[in-house]
């Protein structure tokens, strides 16, 4: 449970960080809060030749409203976002989901963008980004590109990020008028990996739902405007479409049950808090 040897670099500027990533490609890994990466290093699931520590780059620790989106920079911790004034009013889904992200003790260092980069299938922040229709800003020495969350997550711990790219920021759409948001999760303990997590958005009569922890990435489905019975059918169909598998934590049958039940609860709450 000790990391394999690596070189360590703490760049003074974003440009220096991008150059290091460009020079080393696959052999380099970005360290921000380290709450996923250092665990991976300890277990030797990751064995980079170079670790690039961006955690102190003040250019990356900004949270800002940009138009109808909330921009969260690469060095912003989950705790910083949790304490951001106005989060509950402007990004209610994030306010509901953040207390479920790891524990108090890991949110103090773990970054929002780091969770997106790690892309654990059961992680709450990738689910939020996906169900809200957010985007990821990737930057390399070659330039910037923006990728929609719907395309960014490609499977368990894999994303469209290229080896020389840094996730510079993510952008979460802000609360929309006449919309309600809700989050539900079940894990073995509060803060453990989700066996099933659900984010729901009710905008007017239109319903959208996202499920984490069941497939290899967050899955979002537009449900449209549905009555009660049709909603039960739609959730059941979704539960079967996710390809749930048995594992040490839960059976596939149990997971499908969670999708139906937590899905129903989240949608009812999202409907009831539309404003």
């Amino acid at each position: 449970m000790k990391p394999a040897p690596f070189d360590y670099f703490r760049p003074q500027t974003v440009e220096e960080a991008l150059k290091a990533l460009g020079d080393h490609g696959e052999a380099a890994r970005v360290l921000a809060g380290g709450q996923s990466l250092v665990a991976m290093l300890n277990m030797r699931l990751a064995q980079p030749a170079l670790v690039v520590d961006i955690g102190r780059l003040s250019a990356l620790d900004r949270i800002a409203v940009e138009g109808d989106r909330l921009m969260v920079g690469a060095a912003v911790t989950q705790a910083m976002l949790e304490r951001w004034p106005g989060l509950a009013e402007q990004a209610p889904l994030l306010a509901a989901a953040l207390p479920w992200v790891g524990h108090f003790q890991t949110r103090n260092r773990g970054t929002v963008c780091g969770s997106i980069a790690h892309a654990d299938p059961s992680a709450e922040l990738p689910l939020c980004l996906a169900v809200l229709g957010g985007e990821v800003v990737l930057r390399s020495f070659r330039g910037r590109r923006t990728v929609a969350a719907a395309r960014f997550f490609t499977g368990t711990l894999t994303t469209l990020r290229r080896a020389d790219e840094l996730i510079e920021a993510v952008r979460f759409p802000l609360k929309r008028p006449r919309a309600g948001y809700a989050f539900r999760e079940l894990g073995l303990r509060h803060g453990d990996f989700a066996i099933c997590a659900v984010g729901a958005v009710a905008e007017g009569e239109h319903l959208r739902i996202g499920i984490g922890g069941v497939s290899d990435r967050p899955v979002v489905r537009e449900l449209g405007a549905l009555g009660n019975e049709a909603l039960d059918d739609a959730l059941n169909e979704l539960a079967w479409d996710l390809g749930a598998a048995d594992d040490v934590h839960a059976t596939a049958t149990y997971r499908r049950g969670l999708v139906r039940n937590l899905g129903r609860q989240a949608i009812e709450e999202a409907r009831s808090c539309r404003s």
């Binding site: 000790k2 360590y8 665990a39 260092r109």
Partner: protein
């Protein structure tokens, strides 16, 4: 900053419990091991080494953090507080430690230093917690002896004492 080479030991300087300290660390050395083996501060315990059990929790610039999920070289120039800093120099237990003792909040003690450091930060963020909030904070720690009841009681007691002291104008 130059690249710190693998396999070489580099000087790391920071403030530990109010004192300036420094030691030598390879880039791959975890902060938990650095504290224990290089600096002899063995009050920080090491359990799972992947951030789950909470035994190694310390405070970095005031924030409760897993020492096993940080590299020693990352704390250069930062303030680090560990369980060794909670008691007075003469060994008199700190407020949280005394409450843990009164409420039988520990048995084997392996998880205790981490929980103390978590609680010391967390009570600053939530001075008037209810039991559910305390239990939520404790979800970041594993204790296999106590069943958590005594720990919850001790933390609630410290919070209540601090609020009373504040009202009385003593503090």
């Amino acid at each position: 900053m130059p690249v710190l080479k693998a396999g070489e030991r580099h000087t790391v300087s920071f403030t530990l419990n109010g004192r300036e300290v420094s030691g030598l660390a390879e880039p791959r050395l975890l902060l938990s091991d650095f504290l224990r083996h290089e600096l002899g501060a063995s009050g920080t315990h090491v359990g799972c080494e992947h951030g789950v059990c909470g035994a190694c929790t310390i405070r970095i610039d005031g924030l409760a953090t897993r020492a096993c999920l940080m590299l020693a070289v990352q704390v250069e120039g930062h303030r680090v507080d560990t369980v060794e800093g909670l008691a007075d120099a003469d060994g008199t237990l700190g407020e949280l430690q005394a409450a843990f003792r009164r409420n039988h909040a520990l048995q084997c003690g392996f998880c205790t230093s981490g929980i103390l450091m978590s609680a010391s930060h967390w009570l600053e963020t939530d001075p008037a917690p209810d039991e559910q909030a305390v239990r939520r904070m404790l979800s970041g720690h594993l204790c296999r002896c106590t069943g958590y009841g005594g720990i919850v009681k001790a933390v609630m007691e410290v919070a209540a004492n601090r609020r009373r002291d504040k009202k009385g104008g003593d503090v």
